[in-house]
Symmetry: C2
Amino acid sequence: MLEVKSVNEVYDILEREFADICPESETVDICSACGRILAQDVLSHEDIPAFHRSSVDGYAVCAADTFGAGEAAPAQLSFSGEIRMGEKPAFPLERGHTVYIPTGGELPEGADAVVMVEYSEDLGDGYIYLGKAAAPGNNMVFKGDDIRAGARVFPRGKRLRPQDIGVLAALGVTSVPVKKRIRVGILSTGDEVVDIHESPAGAQVRDINSYSLYAGLLAYGAEPVLYGIIRDRFECMRETALKAAGECDVVLISGGSSVGSRDETLRVIASLGEPGVLVHGIAVKPGKPTILARIGNKAVFGLPGHPASAYFIFHLFVLRLLDRVNRVNEPKHYPIPARMSKNYPSNHGREEYVPVRLTHDGTCAVASPVFGKSGLITLLSSADGYVRVERGTEGLKAGATVEVIPFGRYGGGGI
Amino acid sequence: MLEVKSVNEVYDILEREFADICPESETVDICSACGRILAQDVLSHEDIPAFHRSSVDGYAVCAADTFGAGEAAPAQLSFSGEIRMGEKPAFPLERGHTVYIPTGGELPEGADAVVMVEYSEDLGDGYIYLGKAAAPGNNMVFKGDDIRAGARVFPRGKRLRPQDIGVLAALGVTSVPVKKRIRVGILSTGDEVVDIHESPAGAQVRDINSYSLYAGLLAYGAEPVLYGIIRDRFECMRETALKAAGECDVVLISGGSSVGSRDETLRVIASLGEPGVLVHGIAVKPGKPTILARIGNKAVFGLPGHPASAYFIFHLFVLRLLDRVNRVNEPKHYPIPARMSKNYPSNHGREEYVPVRLTHDGTCAVASPVFGKSGLITLLSSADGYVRVERGTEGLKAGATVEVIPFGRYGGGGI
């Protein structure tokens, strides 16, 4: 029996003990790269834009030719024609001359600013009259202003969002190296648990954890594999756990909730191989009986049997492990400051995570704890996120400002 | 030429003019339902839990038998055996008796509380000594406490999260009716635009919008269809737009950025059918030249050609339309209160959306505007979210509290 660890101790263990595990990478088309994690830095091989580009419809000028111009005394410049979209200007701009240029057009050599068409007058006398002075660089983007050739555009470990896919397209990067999806095996144990396709008899209950974990892993971007419900017999459990550890990178065993099956899960995990059990018990509520082991280069979690507890532990620790081995280098979520709607007493000597609903009172966000007996499976489905109560405090006072860690909302995410 | 509309006027138009459009539904297995939108309410056909269930390992009692018990004067109850996980208790509990019950076990008839095993003593004399009084309901969950038979568990329009999938599993709901993915056609126009698989020549640029929109639509949970790059000729554009409107529910035409191609896009959209153009121009920065039309029961957007503008308009208006027709009944994101790191001047007479980076100074979130010329494609990829500057104000002051609308972070989202 190992000592119960604090949440931060477990975070340190995840950081330290799994540092050498690194999933392989694969190359995917950018159309299927959103949400994936870059396995390498992305460098630019060219300047973006690739040419001095106008940001407006107007007249390309040598800025110095417009100095001092104004509504009352417009600059008078010889009209030398029109730049066409997508085409290189045929000739350089001479001093004292101007050309019409559309938004996105390439400035001719010699031009260093654009005056918006709104400030121009064309009297048909071969001159364009510009009623506004331009400083060099006005209304244009210089070659390489956006991205310089050779620059690191995105670091490895970045999770690609839709707008990042746009940047890859701009660079002509049609496929990118990303981390392979981590395979995660899911086992449920408990003699009282039956599959959702069966009808529970007597005091049986349906397998919930397999399905919420499956969905959570898909949503993260992992590849979940269901191994079904395993009877609480050492040999059965060990055989399936070994098979899962052989086929997957991470194994989650959600425990039967009785003492007997909890003990059996620990014995099974301890028997799988070296280095073995790293954590047995975390000073956290819910989820105290959590187990964490490393078997070869695989991670094995023993999760609590209770669905809300199992999902919390998944959120707090399993996702953190996945981010660790994927080398994700950005925060998982933005905490939302909110005011507690009522007191939440707590004095367990364990760090506690409290599911909350989020509303808004017109001035600030309000967090209302979702109360309910710990046996309730609807605790999490009625919550928008959760708040942390530090160990050794007496809970949260009504009116206190807390940081809510939001559960994701948006289906596809990244948006 | 229609009048330029305010952002709220456009929201009203989306709400009102597309109220009758409703995508069909389809039934999917709960393993692939995460992120999908419920097409019907989910009702429970049974009580959860289906029996009075213990939340701890302990002794089931008739609470009244323990009244007055304490460490000094334990209640002495006849030991009547053990409840086994998943099995119905074989006999009711008599007054003055107790049975051992594991976490998750079914309470026998007559029992109305559980005393934790920590407070019990078994001296081997046929009695169990309980050093703590229990009130009725202690350490147990009553039948139906979590979900009552007949209750509406989730409303239609809800986007399913992993923990919601767990609740469906608990109810034995193995598949659910969800909205079909909305098909959205994507067209790029602009004579200067080339596909990302080609090398830009002269002053050509690569097609960015098709790919950021494609990724954004996938991330939302829609079904994007690429129609490629269409030359800025009325007949070409009209033909492809009609084809897309025939095959898809929504069509996005991201415009060439020159005045000429903008005008052509408007003419094309106006020619597609009735009722036609609803919005031409929105008082918003970026994204003023946006077009919105309804053609039969399809929506058509003309998006700005500039990638950052196009993506903002997608985020602000296209996603809102998708949520509208999908009848999504929950907020899209939680705004994050943050302190402005510096002044952001603004006096355009248009509502402005400013991309920001989010950091944390130890006390609160800090929003730093991502400055850059409007031609830059990296504006959005370096932003974590955006803030709104109201029309007619002079911008945002350093130190002011703003609400940041975060871009999604997490790949699969919903987590």
